[in-house]
Symmetry: C2
Subunit: 431 residues, 2 copies
């Protein structure tokens, strides 16, 4: 530890949105933190790409540097915060810090969802903390409850609204009847969506977070590449209208499940119809929420801001205090070893499904269509016809069925002459 046992000297790597919110937060809360823990946090060095840029924070002379590795290896630095993002050089910097016996706090989901297990092993070997509350669901305390409070809980499923951009877009589509393109444009104007929105709208951002949740919830290694993705760009206002009429809202969910028999883990991100009374249904705008189901605990939900400088800085600060207290006690959190998870593909998962079909208006259509379901062993829970004549549309909700069987059903339906188009295909969750 430091020469002054009450001061923990922080090296901050990156000073954008999160770093820029963290520095004043530490300053403001420093007396409270000292009163509660006996530790004084000091942001001693800050590594940035552009030293000249104005960040709206006041730093003493010589604190800013362009040399991130020099911060990590500086013997005057006790603890390292990484908020640069991306895989390199973050991976190299964190590895060096851990190997030097310095605890690391990071909010880097991309890094953790790809090479987290490698960093966990280095941290455990070095006997120091690697904490990452900020990497999943921003300011929401989720990783710590999952890793500690629920360590003994038989967690059966975790479902999360893990991406604020897509939740904002879906909220606009639901509450204002907007089409996808309009809602996306509004999100881009407000700064909720990037100019290239792919990572958000196609579910890659949510997928990285789901992989991290799966690893923590089931203590086994799941990486970003294991995650099945479907985004929201194909969802129409009409789909949302049908869902609403049937008592559902459409949300983009990251879903993590474990097969109780085999221990295999399924991780997927896709739009889902959630019943209006379900707690996830009332998560609006750019908020995130994570819904946990366990045999003993029943249902839990964690709700809050999944992004933004200040909420993310709050999560980072919680980890920093924890690591600093551990450092002063000479202890650290044990991550445990993460064996590779057996991954269960999307085909083996089950859900209810909404399938809507544009059909030609002729005798025997319903008979042919229901035959396609029956032939593939998919049982229908509800069916209704919308419109008449050439605009006739059939909407089905299945009972719980295997994805593979439902996909086979869709193929059979496409082969029918009477089926003009297989429209909305949305999984139904949480009934």
């Amino acid at each position: 530890m430091a020469n002054d046992t009450n001061t923990v000297r922080i090296g901050l790597l990156g000073c954008g949105n999160v770093g820029g919110a963290l520095i004043p937060l530490i300053e403001q809360q420093s007396d409270v933190i000292e009163a509660r823990t006996g530790i004084r946090l000091e942001v001693t060095r800050v590594a940035v790409r552009n030293v000249a840029r104005d960040r709206g924070v006041t730093l003493a002379d010589g604190v800013l540097t362009r040399d991130a590795m020099a911060v990590v290896t500086d013997p005057d630095i006790d603890l390292v915060i990484e908020v640069i993002g991306g895989i390199e050089p973050a991976r190299e910097l964190i590895t060096a810090a851990l190997r030097a016996g310095k605890p690391v706090v990071t909010g880097n989901k991309e890094l953790l969802a790809n090479v987290g297990h490698e960093l966990f092993a280095i941290a455990d070997e070095a006997g120091v903390d690697l904490l990452f509350e900020a990497a999943v669901a921003g300011g929401i305390p989720l990783i710590r409850p999952l890793r500690e409070s629920l360590r003994g809980e038989p967690v059966t499923r975790v479902m999360g609204i893990l991406n604020g951009t897509t939740n904002f877009i879906l909220t606009k589509m639901t509450e204002e009847g907007a089409e996808y393109a309009t809602a996306l444009a509004e999100a881009q104007e407000l700064g909720y969506a990037e100019r290239d929105p792919t990572a958000d709208v196609e579910g890659y951002d949510a997928g990285a977070k789901a992989a991290i949740i799966a690893s923590i919830a089931y203590g086994s290694r799941v990486v970003a590449g294991d995650v099945y993705h479907e985004g929201i760009s194909a969802i129409t206002a009409a789909d949302i209208g049908v869902a609403s009429r049937l008592g559902y809202v459409v949300k983009l969910l990251g879903i993590v499940e474990q097969d109780p028999e085999t221990g295999a883990v399924a991780v997927r991100v896709h739009p889902a119809m959630v019943p209006k009374h379900h707690p996830l249904a009332s998560v609006r705008e750019s908020f995130n929420a994570v819904f946990v189901e366990g045999d003993a605990v029943g249902q839990l939900m964690f709700y809050g801001r999944g992004a933004g400088g200040a909420p993310t800085a709050s999560a980072v600060l919680g980890d920093v205090i924890d690591a600093a207290v551990n450092l002063s006690k000479g202890t650290h959190a044990t991550l445990g070893s993460f064996g590779r998870a057996t991954i269960m593909g999307i085909d083996e998962t089950s859900a209810e499904y909404l399938i809507s079909l544009d059909v030609s208006d002729e005798p025997g259509v319903l008979h042919a269509v229901t035959g396609a379901f029956a032939d593939n062993g998919v049982s229908i829970r509800a069916a209704e016809q919308e419109g008449i004549g050439p605009d006739a549309r059939l909407v089905f909700i299945t009972h719980t069925a295997r994805e593979a069987d439902v996909q086979a059903t869709v193929r059979s339906l496409r082969d029918l002459d009477a089926v003009l188009k297989v429209g909305g295909f949305i999984r139904v969750i949480g009934s």
Copy 2:
């Protein structure tokens, strides 16, 4: 620690709902826990009042005993779980365990809300864990996030639906238009409410939990006696109807706030009108939820089962694993010293208020009534008249006002000849 460093031998005090769910849960999860932590949990001794009673759990011969103190002092016991409830003998038993260097896990809200500070001091002096996640909001991980994740967060307010019985009753009144007595009778039939429902419906149970939350959130000692209480027994279906028409639902909230200037803490439990879009509004049936507001993190909510054997056992188990891991590492969580909080009385708190008045139908009534508000410096945000003639009713919602001024307004209103009755008086929260 134990003679076998991988086994932690548990002494369980009490084997009712929670204990009876905990024993099979530990058994079921014991391999997973060992794989993740290297620790084997063993329920070695169980103290109960009636050894002969069938609990539906299988225990080896000699595990059950009537002598709780013998369990605590048994050198073969490494860790003590207290799920007896009440102040004595729980206090004496926990004190003895801590003084013997044994970590204690408890779910005893009454004990902690009254003499928690005393036990915290004993635990810190002995250098062992005293953990109590199960004491507030049952299975919901709340204490750990508040105490660890949010240790650096400037928490401005915590509002919770902390009592499942009253939330069940209010849900029935809201969704089915039931009167209070009918909804209470249904809750009693379903086992959600006790035969004597006072502790729940008058807010004492929620108050004890609010005192514990205040102590943890602000690091200062707040006891049950500091809490202002109003229950739900005076709430009518008509009040709920008015609230609903105005866009609100009525919830019994425990509210904890700190004055940012003076540091004084206000803790109160009372019915409140919550806007329908607020996350707390969608918490139905017997579920609990705690809504946390902080300057950096923004809004957070933690949702789940606030009571019941299995959810509470899940929270106890999380603490047990944590304490067992700490024990094996020779470390423990530091609670810190809890100086006595300066308590801010209800008079000094602020809110918006709904006030409804039965008035006589005569000229000048509205003028007289609004004068009572103006004289006491309370500004009106909305006013409307319901009904006409002898059944005329005036409903006001104020702007944010001090409780003392609003209470003075109510006294002035009662003195007016034209006011027949001051009916609904409900605080409005979270607009």
